[in-house]
Symmetry: C2
Subunit: 282 residues, 2 copies
DNA sequence: ATGTCTTTGTGAACGCGTGCACAAAGATGG
DNA sequence: CCATCTTTGTGCACGCGTTCACAAAGACAT
């Protein structure tokens, strides 16, 4: 998933030393801990005292062996023959994720998405406190969103320092993202959640996670196309059967159903749809 | 990423056969294609004719060797000594992702997030057409959002069939997500983008990708905590013993219940804090 | 206590993804 | 045409993540 890897994604080693030494928890495991926590919280609310790896895995949508291995990185919190104590595990995972402390965050860019995030209950319920909403547009500043006044980005540095904000959320249009990012980092933010469809450059020691709504849809479209193509494919015919066996010879092998206009002819932008790719946001 | 995301994510094997046969493109590569496409589109708009793997990799935020390997799965579209033809590559990637065709989507749950997505420019600009906005709340249906009327979920099946919708986006509260999912699938949807913090159960052949905003923040919090704790240079300690590694930070007030039973046998230290987690959702 | 049953925790094998490093391919200049 | 330079395409090795399968550990009944 998300990514992310990201996907598990662009986790720069940060701080040099490999996280393998000591009590390093694999990134893939860390990414799943919130899933377990959510499932455990639901069990806790139903006053379920203990849960087996099999049950919890099903609730979290993962393999039970994977779940047990994940938990083994945290320590041995289970009881053989019984399972895991729900409340205890909730606490341990919360602590491991750092959710037992308060994390003030700022959201920059109060457009549609920023507005939605400000109202998102999933933040406040997990120790994340919205310290401020920021926007550069004077037409927006002053408005009250989710009970908070939208403040001007001029106040960014002051707010970050006084509130000791270390996490920033960027929901600005892509053109403004890098600049906002730079200011956040300069003011002391060391973790950024980026919703703008842009690659952010940050110094070492700063973590960036990105969420791109359109990328997820594009990945779905790929699989969807592949599914549809299993029935009948108007373009792209030759495949299967041969790919693994012999490829090396003809370079054209991969260019199977190349459209008439092979190489970027004088056709302006080569999209059938006539759709212009624009980085609109907000 | 996660996603990675993916997330890295939760790529359920789906459809039995491994995608490795034939012209299978690795999942990790598919997840990056949209990134390349975005960077290429930007170059295209600046009328840049060709680009080297090094340049494009920098623009996309990845390693150049990785980029070349990714492209090698699509075929040999580059020219040695020169680089890649921008327009041609834009077309090839678009085609591979299935973006050269029209993808009608429905968005179910027009709360804050659904509202934001309906207005999100990144969808329409890539071949995704919002066929309908749906909500179960009579107070919301009828409203016009992003130029489209919000229709009642009673019309879901009809719309999906008549518009041939195969992709659905769920932005409902978690309690309604599974039910909505079931109806979507029954009506013919085979790809789902789920924003509700719930594990969706779907039959084989249906792809689900999830985006959980709070999970991303929790992952950031983990790394942030680790950064703060690095001052201690804590070296391995097989387990417990360091449970209350209090970080020198602001007094976090979020402290509630202390379930007594929580202490599992064999673990000497208790936990002094507990936090109530609720699945609130916009 | 002892035996049986359940479930954890983990060693080991495997597969995927990543990145290095280099040969091949083509451009370019003389 | 030959030499040189640039950049692609990829073989290979390595490390991470996943999964299997099973021994160890504890609960529970007798």
């Amino acid at each position: 998933m998300a990514t992310g890897r990201s996907t598990q994604h662009n986790p720069n080693p940060a701080a040099g030393t490999r996280r393998s030494r000591g009590r390093g928890i694999p990134d893939a495991t860390v990414a799943r801990l919130p899933l377990y926590l959510r499932a455990l919280t639901a069990l806790s609310e139903r006053s379920v005292p203990t849960v087996s790896s099999e049950e919890l895995a099903a609730a979290a949508g993962v393999n039970s062996a994977k779940l047990r291995k994940d938990f083994s990185y945290l320590g041995s919190y289970g009881t053989r023959g019984v399972g895991y104590d729900v409340e205890y595990l909730v606490y341990q995972i919360s602590r491991e994720l750092g959710l037992t402390q308060d994390w003030p965050v700022v959201i920059v860019g109060i457009g549609n998405l920023g507005h939605a995030l400000a109202n998102y209950g999933g933040f406040a319920s997990r120790g994340f406190r919205v310290a401020a909403l920021l926007d550069a547009d004077p037409a927006i500043t002053g408005n009250v969103v989710a009970g908070l006044p939208v403040r001007h980005t001029d106040e960014m540095e002051e707010i970050i320092r006084s509130e000791r904000v270390s996490i920033g959320v960027i929901t600005t249009p892509p053109g403004a993202a890098q600049q906002v990012c730079d200011r956040l980092v300069a003011a002391g933010v060391t973790s950024i959640l980026n919703f703008a469809p842009t690659v952010l450059n940050v110094p070492d020691g700063v973590d960036v996670r990105k969420v791109d709504l359109s990328i997820e849809l594009q990945i779905l479209a790929f699989h969807e196309q592949r599914k549809a193509g299993d029935e009948y494919r108007d373009d792209d015919g030759p495949t299967e059967a041969d790919a693994d066996a012999e490829v090396p010879s003809a370079p054209a092998a991969a260019v199977v159903s190349t459209p008439e206009r092979a190489v970027a002819p004088g056709h302006g932008h080569g999209h059938e749809q006539g759709q212009e790719y624009e980085e609109a946001a907000g």
